[in-house]
């Protein structure tokens, strides 16, 4: 087993160090990659060392109870960080330690289960978590050496829980590694656990009358504001933490148990500390058992696949006026959109965003009501604000698709499409029309939630009009990105493909005029909307018409480079 573990650590090290040595890209891209890696190390390492030191100082200077409240928040944030990372961080910058590739090799299940968990500590996030936990241990131990062994002992399951949670998320990705469609869906669903953990815990507190709502939660702090005068920063922080008591809310999560096992002995609660140590150790053992079981199942060939789809050919059979070529393309786009894993991913994401939207606006309403009986200006502003946020969030989500149109939709069919003599205008028009329908449908969904929560039905036409203008103004930039940076879309932070950077830049350049024309007069001088709304529409339509022809020519000229890039040859 030791030899296997050594080899797995060696493998992870080689995968990590590979980020500095891509030979595929040209020299500039290689240099950029090297600089990014060095930046990541030189900026993030001191940053996390600083956080570790700050945490050590804070934990040492706060009261034991205050330190506990602070660390429980930090460790819960770390837990969420580990939950999110497998889907984003590892996939592009460092190749994922995908266990399934080792299954034909003679490696025992136990070696693979233990090795795959332990190698997580070799990742950046593993290093960061280690520094943070080290700071916590030093800070807590400073309160009294008698509790130091238990603090150190408590930190072990804390680190194990973090690594195992990340590993389990990786397992889920491994389980669907061979199914692009399921993977697409899963990436959309990955944000659901965070949301459910947060909302579930919130409603548990709410239902058990631990607190009645956000306003009640904040009231003890607000009530003590008067007594803060003359206190030092650390004393104020301590008072805030002890009064706010986030532990009553976060103690139900595994990171909370581990923190309690580290911090409660410092506060003299030895029995509770030991109980939480047992609980967090059991949680770590349970998570490991689940991971080992998944490894065993995967080694036996159990992977999750979507059964091969038999799709019904739902031809729109459009007999509408205008060129038949356009309507044929539209039918093709309709089929590709419906069947694409990316659109499904976005569709799965929309209700999740809607839940978050509903919750956020409900809370804003509640807090507004609780603070001095409500501010009428805020109440009036909420529906418009919600509508604009809905439009912007859908536009940003759709950007992944619209700004990489040929890579995301019907990548395989692009060659055939360009071999045909079809007018390139129709290609843009058809794709853009389909994206517009999709954008408006999703926006409508979010707008309904905002309208129900804020009880303002005017939100619907306002929001839809905003979404339409935003779409028209951003789609030329998205089309340009599709032509100039047509790399295969990958959803990851630190993606070295220029496509993702272009995507964001293009949106940031194209969206502000429409946002300003809608939002500024809405908040500052509403009669002005009579002028700015038609202006926004004119700007969007004008920009689209002006850019359509040059974009069609550009598409024709850059066919070869697009084809190469979307098929991974670029």
């Amino acid at each position: 087993m030791r030899a296997d573990l050594r080899t797995l650590f060696w493998l992870q090290w080689r995968l990590t160090s590979a980020m500095f040595r891509s030979r595929r890209a040209d020299s500039w891209a290689r240099l950029g990659r090297l600089l990014m890696g060095i930046l990541l190390l030189t900026l993030s390492l001191p940053f996390f060392i600083a956080i570790g030191v700050l945490l050590a100082l804070a934990a040492a200077r706060l009261s034991p109870r205050g330190a506990y409240e602070l660390l429980i928040m930090v460790n819960t944030a770390l837990l969420f960080f580990w939950l999110m990372m497998p889907a984003t961080y590892n996939s592009e910058f460092i190749e994922r330690f995908e266990m399934t590739r080792l299954f034909t090799q003679p490696i025992a299940i136990n070696s693979l289960a233990a090795g795959s968990t332990l190698v997580s500590s070799l990742s950046f996030i593993g290093l960061w978590s280690f520094l943070v936990l080290l700071g916590e241990v030093i800070g807590l131990a400073a309160h009294g050496l008698a509790s130091a062994p238990l603090v150190l002992l408590g930190a072990l399951p804390a680190f194990a829980i973090l690594m195992l949670v990340g590993r389990l998320m990786d397992d889920v990705l491994d389980l669907v590694a061979n199914d692009r469609r399921l993977r697409g869906l899963l990436l959309g669903l990955l944000s659901l656990p965070f949301l459910l953990l947060f909302l579930g815990n919130y409603y548990l507190q709410y239902a058990t009358h631990n607190f009645q709502g956000m306003a009640d939660f904040l009231r003890p702090v607000v009530g003590n504001v008067g007594s803060l005068r003359g206190l030092s920063f650390m004393q104020v922080l301590d008072l805030l933490l002890v009064n706010l008591r986030p532990s009553r809310y976060l103690i139900f999560l595994p990171a909370g148990w581990a923190t309690a096992s580290m911090a409660l002995p410092v506060a003299g609660q030895w029995g509770a500390g030991l109980a939480f140590l047992t609980l967090s150790s059991a949680a770590a053992a349970g998570l490991y058992a689940v991971h080992a079981a998944i490894v065993r199942r995967m080694m036996q060939g159990v992977a999750l696949h979507m059964s091969s789809q038999r799709v019904r050919s739902q031809s729109l059979d459009l007999r509408l006026p205008g060129p038949q070529a356009f309507w044929s393309l539209f039918e093709k786009d309709w089929a590709c959109f419906r069947r694409s894993p990316m659109t499904r991913r976005i569709l799965v994401g929309t209700p999740i965003v809607a839940i978050a939207f509903g919750f956020a606006f409900w809370q804003m309403n509640n807090v507004n009501q609780a603070v001095g009986g409500g501010l009428p200006s805020l109440r009036r502003a909420l529906p418009g604000l919600g509508a604009c946020l809905a439009g912007i969030s859908v536009s940003l989500a759709m950007c992944n698709l619209t700004a990489n149109y040929f890579g995301a939709i019907d990548r395989e069919g692009f060659g055939g499409l360009m071999l045909s003599g079809v007018d390139r205008h129709w290609i843009w028009l058809s794709g853009n029309l389909m994206s517009l329908i999709f954008t408006l449908a999703q926006t409508l969904f979010l707008l309904l939630v905002v309208a129900i929560v804020t009880r303002s039905w005017l939100t619907l036409p306002w929001g839809l009009f905003f979404a339409l203008c935003l779409f028209l103004s951003t789609i030329p930039a998205a089309n340009l990105t599709s032509v100039l940076a047509p790399h295969r879309a990958k959803f990851s932070l630190g993606n070295n493909n220029q496509g993702n950077l272009w995507l964001l830049l293009s949106w940031m350049v194209a969206a502000p005029p429409v946002c300003i024309l809608f939002i500024l007069p809405y908040f500052l001088w509403r009669p002005g909307l009579a002028i700015t709304l038609p202006l926004a529409a004119l700007y969007g339509v004008g920009l689209y018409i002006i850019t359509l022809k040059p974009l069609a020519r550009l598409l024709d000229r850059r066919t070869h480079s697009i084809y190469g890039a979307i098929n991974g040859e670029g």
Partner: protein, 278 residues
Amino acid sequence: MSDDNLTIRTENLTRQFGKLVAVDRLNLAVPRGTIFGFLGPNGAGKSTTINMLVGLLPPSAGTAQVAGFSILDAALEVKQRIGVVPEGLNLYERLTVSEQVELVGRLHGLSRAELRQRLPSLLELLDLKDSANKMILDYSAGMRKKTALACALVHVPEVLFLDEPFESVDPVSTRAIKNVLRDMVAQRGTTVFFSTHVMELAERFCDQVGIINRGQLVATGSIDELRVRTGLGEEAALEDVFLRVVKADVAVEQDEELLGWLTGSGAGAERVETNHAG
């Protein structure tokens, strides 16, 4: 043939995916030191069979032994004795070729000294030496396939499972690999089990073949034996034998009415000409 002389033996090996029976009660016996070609049309069950034999997929029913060990009870022992080029290749793209081969060698317990000795010649054989320090990410499909082959060979396995091993590989490398495999079979008694649907390759390279169609083994034996069994004569090409065995009568070939528009004969041809004229 005694069981001792068999490297691969399956008994009613079956694999179901839901209602689909991908492999149906497969009974195979592959003698030691044989090049065994596993032939079949697309979707016949070739890759599923290989995946079961190398321990990537549990059978729904039946058993199999590879190199004297049960794939159900001693999967690790089986994996220690086999080399595999699977359908998906399973390579880490950000490793270099030499690192990838080294990884597999290490997992098979090879020492650094052994790896240092074997790697250069292996990479030379597969024409990978010049780009041994290039990342697999930068390789073409053929180079990736050759890297997977290097991984399968580095620990000198008793049995080689190769899923479409020569697909995308250039003819020079194909010839070199075939020569080495033949030498391994002749001198070490290695067994090569490979799947393909390239009949010419199977005809020239294999000692024995098995033909699978719709999950069922429909014929097995030497190519000469199959020629006799199908009654096609000694000179018949393996392709004809194969088509006879899988009962693919190429019926559409004769249907002029159906394909006339394409082949230019019959009534359909006139319709196309009319279209062009229009």
